[in-house]
Symmetry: D2
Subunit: 342 residues, 4 copies
């Protein structure tokens, strides 16, 4: 934290600021210039809001100089994190290694036949993970139900049948225990990116965790949230860019492809992209999936449905089986062009 004092700041005001910094465990270096006194403060991580200092008497400006996150920072683990999952039926899968990986499945769960068929399509295309959204009795998004044991059992059965790993979204702390029983990986959705109680609980989980970016969250805030999971002791954290909200409404969200490239520099954590939720339109999923891999994404989340025109939710953004199969072939070429496999 750098605090620049006003021209006329009194000694008392300067002392007040120094006292507050020290109380927050910062080391403070004071530099008395001809015009302004500048306080340079270094602490373990800069979570404190600079506004807390800006409103103090005699303070002209206050800025963070260190990142507000620490454990998620690239400097914490320069070589990068590779999340490794092993399973009897699905073999070994690494996320963050040389191979880009794909997680695919339908946006909503409509019944056993749809789920089994979806898993078959997903596996045939070459994805390693099966992922399905919430229970959908109806098209309205307000009607999504949380996953119960019977549904989780069905998802597990589908994944096992086709040699896939299973990723499941959790939205309340109370769901984690059940989800851990059935799933290989837990997802925190974008709406929960700053649900700190949930993040803390995921930090205590033995399962790898994928943290989706909130649709109005900065990259800094996203990595602070990753820190929350990491600080619980769970080092198997992955990030997923899924579109931010901008003024442009021609697409559902704006896939922040730059953030993928940026996060790979700022953090050691693997980062994936979800072009389906970002665009909301199946005809834009393929180009954005290619773009994400070209920018360096470690993987993709893709919505695919046996019959999207009759899907109970997320139909518009779900690929048809043939489109998905074709995309997977395209992605292998793009991955190769950036020196990776798929």
């Amino acid at each position: 934290m750098i605090v620049v004092m006003d021209k006329g700041a009194t000694e008392e005001q300067i002392e007040e600021v120094i006292g507050k910094l020290i109380g927050l465990e910062f080391n403070v270096h004071r530099s008395t210039g001809a015009v302004h006194t500048v306080l340079g403060a270094v602490g373990p991580a800069e979570l404190v809001d600079p506004e807390e200092f800006k409103v103090m008497d005699g303070v002209m400006e206050c800025r963070r100089i260190m990142t507000p996150y620490q454990l998620a920072s690239r400097s914490f683990r320069p070589a990068g994190t590779v999340v490794r999952l092993e399973s009897e039926r699905a073999g070994t899968v690494e996320i963050g290694g040389n191979a880009a990986i794909v997680m695919a499945g339908p946006g909503g769960i409509e019944g056993e036949e749809q789920i089994l068929k979806s898993a078959e399509i997903v596996a045939r295309g070459g994805a390693r993970f099966f992922r399905a959204g919430g229970l959908r009795p109806h098209l309205a998004p307000q009607q999504i139900q949380p996953l119960d044991a019977a549904t989780l059992k069905l998802l597990r059965k589908a994944a096992d049948l086709y040699g896939l790993l299973l990723a499941v979204e959790v939205s309340e702390t109370a769901q984690i225990g059940l989800a851990e029983e059935y799933a290989d990986m837990l997802l925190a959705g974008s709406q929960n990116m700053q649900n700190y109680a949930l993040l803390a609980a995921l930090g205590r989980s033995g399962r790898p965790v994928m943290l989706k970016r909130g649709m109005a969250a900065t990259v800094d805030e996203w990595l602070v949230s990753a820190d929350c999971v990491l600080s619980g002791g769970n080092g198997n954290v992955m990030l997923c860019e899924r579109g931010i909200r901008s003024f442009e409404s021609a697409t559902k969200n704006t896939l922040d492809v730059t953030a993928i490239a940026l996060v790979r520099k700022l953090s050691h954590l693997p980062v994936l992209a979800d072009p389906s939720h970002a665009t909301g339109r199946r005809d834009l999923v393929a180009p954005m999936a290619r773009a994400a891999v070209a920018a360096g994404a470690d993987g993709l989340l893709i919505d695919v449905h046996p019959d999207p025109d009759h899907a109970l939710g997320e139909g518009a953004q779900s690929l048809k089986p043939a489109q998905y199969a074709e995309l997977m072939l395209q992605l292998k070429t793009i991955a190769a062009a950036v020196g990776r496999s798929l």
Copy 2:
């Protein structure tokens, strides 16, 4: 919903769209023009995403024509909703009536002395509601704790002592029961504006509910969320604008004052404003509080702290006791200028 078919759309494609609309309980009017066939579809409420039709073969364009919300719409109750609370100690308070009301209190709960002192300041200034944020053992925002029974009891005691009503935020379904025991009003925070499980549970509550706008939520999405609470049978719903995220980072958020005026036209629900969270800076709270009332807000949420420079959270945006008292006087004048009391 209006669906415009492509020039060369086949009869089969048109039938496919009509079939999907009817399956979703829309009444469909078909208009065959020289160039385009246009399908006008009217349903109970337009929750379905137009994208679901845009991706169908032969469809050129699809647009909603009705609002996606229904119960929250002004046309549902043209006279407007007045939420009325009665209490032995605090008397009768109406929200949405002639008087604009103020809810105030500290951003974080630090201990009994701080809470009692805060309630005293709040009451002395003329606010009718006491409101306090989460338990704060530390300045970092990730450390907030949910409210437990002991804390709720303390808040209740403080409110009662000074003749105030008590508003409490809930963030998980499981917290509602306990909160209802102690609080006069429940708040759903901006992070939970689309937590549909929580909204459904609040719809079954006997307590009035205040629904804060998500920081990246459109007015339409906000009113759809209000519909979710209303459809559970709880008619005592209020809205609160607390700042949206824009490109401007000079303030924490951008208070969307226009949305206050707009929502009063679109909806019958009372709408309040939270200038403290919106600006994040105590020196901007007073002008924005005045602006909100001038634009027609039915009330305000204001952060006030006995000693904000030493607050464990939200200190920068909390008014000092004297600033709060002065603001309350200013607000009476502004309220009078728009024909209201405070």
Copy 3:
């Protein structure tokens, strides 16, 4: 500018940064810490982009500590600027003084009758300035014509007839000379906020200049643009907030009322608001005009048209004569509530 060097930055890298800072006329203070070397650099104004340093080898972080503007800063003239215009027919008008002022007129120029009628309505309501948009032969916004001498003469005649001052928008350097002949004040529109050639030319003008905020411009960028005009020697600069673009599309733009309050703290320049362009809807103009004055605006720009339903442009956002008259009465009350006149 604060430059924080990497842990392992070499002496050579540090010297390279210091050399670049000195070359840009910064005074550099070096602070060698246990872990990081920190360079504090103070210059005349911080126009240089911190990114220029961030990409240098060995640099971890770089932040501005001073504002990037200087002449527009409140500290440059703490008492505030009052722009004073004197005219035989309109008397003396001050902007930035105790009285909030109103500039009003139609969004497009359609003919002599419309202009004369508009000026009469504007004057009768109590506004001091007449302002009219471009020549409009058609509703499409792409058809606006720049003002020619005949039109300027007409506007001058209308203003003089009703004792009003005249404000005219200029969009190219070449238009300034002609506009100065007829107008009392020149406006730079939001699309031209960063047209630095135009700003420089306005800085050499003898007429007061109003600088509208770009719809995607930060407050810092706006004040840098004001600096460009001021540095040309023209001290009579005013600012006008006219709505920013956010994700919310329920209104044309989002009037950033907070920016009005903020700019009054950051700058000594008067700041006005344009609720007509911000909302794009006449039914929201009155509440937002009240909000702006309550937040501290020094004046308003309001679109009013003798018959907006048949206007050739900006009709939706133009007040009807009776609505305008009523609003002017409301504004007097709000102005009084914040200790001002109108």
Copy 4:
């Protein structure tokens, strides 16, 4: 345009709306339903703002159903536009054909040596166009000078020497004549995307025109601007996505890669990307250039400088010569992966 009338709309109100639609050359189809009367109106292009109808008495809702642009629409020329340039020294270059093309050069013009050296680097890497920003006597962005004849002559000389085509930005109508003499292609910058006088003049030019997207412009607005150029008779129009402004400030702008894929569907015009201005950081240029090509961009604008650490402007976002050469090799691989050459 679809206009939905209120439940209780009178026959007179309906007639008023129909009259206004007909006056704007719409064909109106009236559909009288049990509850609402719906007016379907089809016109040559939907430039008129729906708000103009929304504020009329008796109108409940009004929505565009056709795109507001026409000539730029893909349906106008389904096969796509290929802009072809022929030159003695540079040979034939096609934009929008199978080959993706690169335009490169420094962000600012500092002198003859820098320009000649830049052109040499640009040509050696395989780009076909030389492009250089404004005259830069100083790092501050406010000091950019428009191009004079001597500078244009220098740029032409550099381009010719190395067999490159020359693209030059124009920002005022008066500059077009001179620029046409020296340049093979004219650029309209993002600040001028809605400078309709300039667009009209470019529509009368014999030179191909590249239209950069405004940083707060929707895709619809961008294509309306392209329509303005096309309607002047100049069919050689190209688009360039250069980053939009979002809440994320970790990068200068947010490159809207999705818009590239979307515009290729909506329009027949070639679309390029400018990753240098979008990211503002040279370490992110390569991944974003790859992403743009993978998403279907027809070309790229890239800032390259012989010595960016000492550049007078845009240094942070300019590639070093070796980085540029390496990127060009990477891009060939990505282009091949999507079935194109470079």
